[in-house]
Symmetry: C2
Subunit: 254 residues, 2 copies
DNA sequence: CGATGCCTTGAGTGAATTCAACGCTTGTGG
DNA sequence: CCACAAGCGTTGAATTCACTCAAGGCATCG
């Protein structure tokens, strides 16, 4: 359905991996020359879609793995009656669709939150990655294990944190991740989400999410603005959530 | 603290990998001779703990990875005030502690639900696994991605399914997994959980969990018995949950 | 036979949901 | 240029859901 919105920009001018803007960011580890060479020919294209478009569809049998080159997206599942649960957000450098490739079919969908560009990798070359590039295979496992860790924390939030706590947690989490890839300067840039997105991530209704955000806003911890939010007091927000925060270093990508 | 209960049985008679009772179960893929040889020397011991004992502790820096050889356990996180969220259950064949090894420190704890025996693997040999045994490295990634998939479904349940739906889901999930490894014959064996475990998995209070189980019991879908539950009508239960069920084949292990 | 652990039940309270409406902004077509 | 619709945020009121509190029952175990 929304898939038709995709693709017009692909096939234009691709960013070569050796000039990948994500390399050099301190949030990521660097490649060796040999790794870089492999990754370069592992990448077979780019995919650009606009905000609101569906990048990957649940149930699909995809021959590709993706990495977010720029932009934001989110991963979600639907129940038959339309209830939606957002599992996690995809930031630049994040791997998308690994499950689909390893296990046949994808069990979730991915939608663009902003215009987004993804690097497309060939599934068929995955074997070579495992047989010839152990360090990259290790990275892949690391990434999967890391996603598991994030989901653990989300599960803890939804299952056991109060509405205010879990909202503070989610806002903190997204903010920290956005900062790590330079999407917010000193907290001075809104992250383009609707409250419906937050509600569907938090397992709360839209109305109650709105009222909960208000509580945080009344305490001057966050501000809703320009179709997104801004963190005013990162420490205070984190404290409310009772979360320790991200402890990342040398995150691998691709 | 509870760690002191661990270990007395280790160092006794270890099950050699070539006689591993898990091999040959149709739920798992088989090893090649070369893989088997590697796994055999990758394994450095066994760990047995009794019901209720803590196998792994959050925050710990563990030099080992484990596989469940027999018994049941569960993975959980705690908030500072004691609220507990159970993330998932570990069945025979399941890998435990991968995160801890890959990322330095463990972000969750693991407790035994029955007397449990785990195979202990050396972290230091993980490099060799990646460089020399691509097929096993692939399996490791597969396992991590699979866990991610399970957590996605749990997240969907806790976030968006009603109390009855999510309880039916969890009961179905555990039952299906137990069946896959032969822990319940034709549904005729109780799974040794307390309702508190279920509550902490579902994100519900103990009282409400009890009342929800009652609703399912009143419809003759399950029965609570002998400190555990029994599934009377697997199809009916699955239908209530609105879940598709596990679709597994050739699950790798270790 | 008095603990203790676990399940069960009822009553009262609090939290979160649904329903309903309104305001603001943006975009679109007449 | 205005009218109108659509999307999103906000708010209040009523209802439902889930939680806490409190107590009792029934096993098992020392």
């Amino acid at each position: 359905m929304t898939g038709s919105k995709a693709g017009p920009a692909s096939g234009k001018r691709h960013t070569p991996c050796d000039k990948c803007p994500l390399r050099g960011m301190k949030a990521f580890r660097d490649f060796s020359a040999r790794e870089l060479e492999f990754v370069s020919q592992f990448k077979v294209g780019e995919l650009s879609v606009e905000r609101g478009a569906t990048v990957l569809v649940e149930g699909t049998h995809s021959p590709h793995i993706y990495t977010v080159l720029s932009g934001l997206g989110f991963r979600y599942k639907l129940l038959s009656d339309g209830r939606r649960q957002i599992m996690n957000y995809a930031f630049p450098g994040d791997l998308v669709g690994l499950q689909g490739v390893l296990m046949g079919e994808l069990d979730h969908s991915v939608e663009a939150l902003t215009p987004i560009t993804l690097c497309v990798f060939e599934r068929s070359k995955l074997d070579r990655l495992f047989t010839r590039h152990a360090s990259l295979a290790y990275d892949l496992t690391w990434i999967a294990a890391h996603e598991e860790r994030v989901l653990d924390e989300h599960l803890l939030s939804i299952g056991r944190r109060s509405a205010v706590e879990r909202t503070a947690y989610l806002l903190s989490y997204i903010h920290q991740r956005a900062r790590a890839v330079g999407l917010v300067n000193a907290g001075r840039k809104a992250i383009p989400l609707t409250q419906q997105h937050l509600a569907d991530t938090l397992g709360l209704s839209l109305v109650h999410t709105n009222k909960t955000i208000r509580k945080l806003a009344d305490r001057n911890l966050v501000r809703w603005q320009d179709g997104g939010y801004e963190v005013l007091e990162a420490d205070g927000l984190l404290k409310v959530s009772g979360w320790e925060g991200l402890k990342e270093a040398g995150r691998p990508f691709v």
